[in-house]
């Protein structure tokens, strides 16, 4: 009487997996579209900041206005992309709060499918945010169009992956939305400031220039600026560092989420 749980052929199994992921992606997209406030604000706010701070950054760089414009675009982009950790974190935290994650775990979907269904829409949203801001930077702020659009997209993908992994890891250990808000707001300001998103690292004090290397924001900024310049070699090292952070945080998040929170002290 029940629906067949285990399609026999590998093809049927793949089709069933794709079907379940599709169902989850559709569900999560619908959810995100019904709560678009954060995404909109994280797109509009950096646009305003880019516009207002452009003259300051242009003057801050002696070497020419192009470095200033590059920083005027990539600085707010990195800072507000760190803010989007709350989008990732909230979407996972709510699943815990509403007890829906455990409900999903009782379905036929594997943990991998559940995570893909959850991450793909958020990934797409963050990707769109970053690309919209870069296009805005080119059209409105005066950033030259990148020599290699593919390299920029690749860099954005690496950064979005890292952000999602960190956000997911945070959501599995934080206990409430206020904790998440505190950590992501403070973290965003600290990481982006230390990483050079607000003030270029070159004009920071010596000790701050050393500390900057411990911020993912620093590596994101370095990678994105190199990608916009079309310098693949300079983007490669930071991309490796970010991927390392992403895989470590993502691995931790998957480990935590696979266990569920049924008897956890969290929440």
């Amino acid at each position: 009487m029940s629906v067949d749980a285990s399609p026999r052929s590998p093809l049927a199994s793949s089709v069933a997996t794709a079907h379940r992921i599709g169902v989850l992606v559709r569900h999560n997209i619908r959810w995100r579209l019904r709560d678009p406030g954060q995404v909109i604000s994280y797109i509009v706010l950096p646009m305003i900041i880019m516009l207002v701070f452009k003259p300051i950054y242009v003057r801050a760089f002696d070497t020419g206005s192009m470095s200033g414009i590059l920083h005027a675009v990539t600085g707010p982009l990195v800072m507000f992309s760190v803010f989007t950790l709350t989008i990732v974190g909230n979407s996972i935290l709510l699943e815990r709060e509403w007890r829906t994650w455990d409900r999903l775990r009782t379905s036929s979907a594997s943990i991998t499918e559940l995570l893909l269904g959850k991450v793909v829409p958020v990934f797409a949203i963050l990707l769109v945010q970053q690309l919209v801001l870069l296009v805005y930077g080119c059209l409105v702020i005066g950033l030259p169009f990148p020599r290699s659009a593919g390299l920029v997209v690749l860099a954005v993908v690496v950064w979005v992956f890292t952000l999602i992994a960190i956000g997911a890891a945070m959501a599995t250990i934080l206990r409430s939305h206020s904790e998440l808000g505190l950590v992501s707001d403070l973290g965003a300001i600290t990481l982006s400031a230390v990483g050079g998103a607000l003030v270029p690292v070159a004009i920071m004090p010596g000790w701050a220039q050393v500390v900057a290397h411990f911020s993912p924001g620093y590596w994101a900024l370095t990678m994105l600026q190199a990608a916009v310049r079309g310098d693949a070699l300079a983007a490669f090292g930071p991309a490796l560092v970010l991927l390392g952070i992403g895989f470590a945080a993502g691995g931790f998040a998957v480990w935590r989420m696979a266990r569920g929170w049924g008897r956890s002290d969290l929440l």
Binding site: S2, A5, W98, R99, D102, R103, L104, T106, S107, S108
Partner: protein, 277 residues
Amino acid sequence: MLEAIELTKRYGSVQALDGFSLRVDAGEIVGLVGHNGAGKTTFIEMAAGLVRPDTGTMRIDGAEAGRARNRIGIAPQHIALYRWTTVREHLELFGGLAGMGRAELSTAIDELVAALRLGEFIDRRAGFLSGGQQRRTQAAAALIHRPAVLLLDEPTAGADPQTREALLDVVKQRAGEGAAVIYTTHYLPELADLQATIAVARSGRIIARGTTAELLDGLPGEVCVSFGDEEIRTTTTDPTTTLIELLNRADRPVKAIDLRNPSLDDLYRSLAVTDVR
């Protein structure tokens, strides 16, 4: 069919399950009763594949519990719904995850709308539903793919009589079609309505199992004969015979008789009352 053999599970200092064994055949409804902390919810979570036993085995239709999730439908004790998702979308989500196609889903949703009276709020978001409507939504999500094993953990807690009646009817119908049903509740009359066999849990194990009649056999009932100014009240394992004896001995007109056979409540009290974990 669900079969649990000697399950144990410990959370820190708490022994949640301690040799829990239970078998539920296809078409059978088992009412799982016991005080809070008796192990009912841990057992349900284990059957749903959410929790792994420390020792023991849990099989569903012969497969390990975690590998047979499409064969189970669960309505957890706590409400687990997406606040911004409508009832219909919940059913599409869980039906879709069970592999149901569009046409099959549509038919199943129509059926549940009628059976559980979801029509008036089927397109309303779960966050705007009453407690009873949320309960019905949760039950519908458990039933949507016609699972072989139904795990219903206090599905009517806090629900109105209309919700309770609708849900019990559907559970009986699904059992009639061959589903094995585990139904935990503190409202024991529901189990009589369901004609369920009873399993009593205490301290992480099943301490009594059988039909209502089997379990009530030997439990004392109560007989009360009132003469207006005086009342004779006695507990007895054979209320009918005791009543006849009392009436034969009566030397005054009897004003009122109250005969109470042992009930599931008495059984529950006698077997589970000492569980204070």
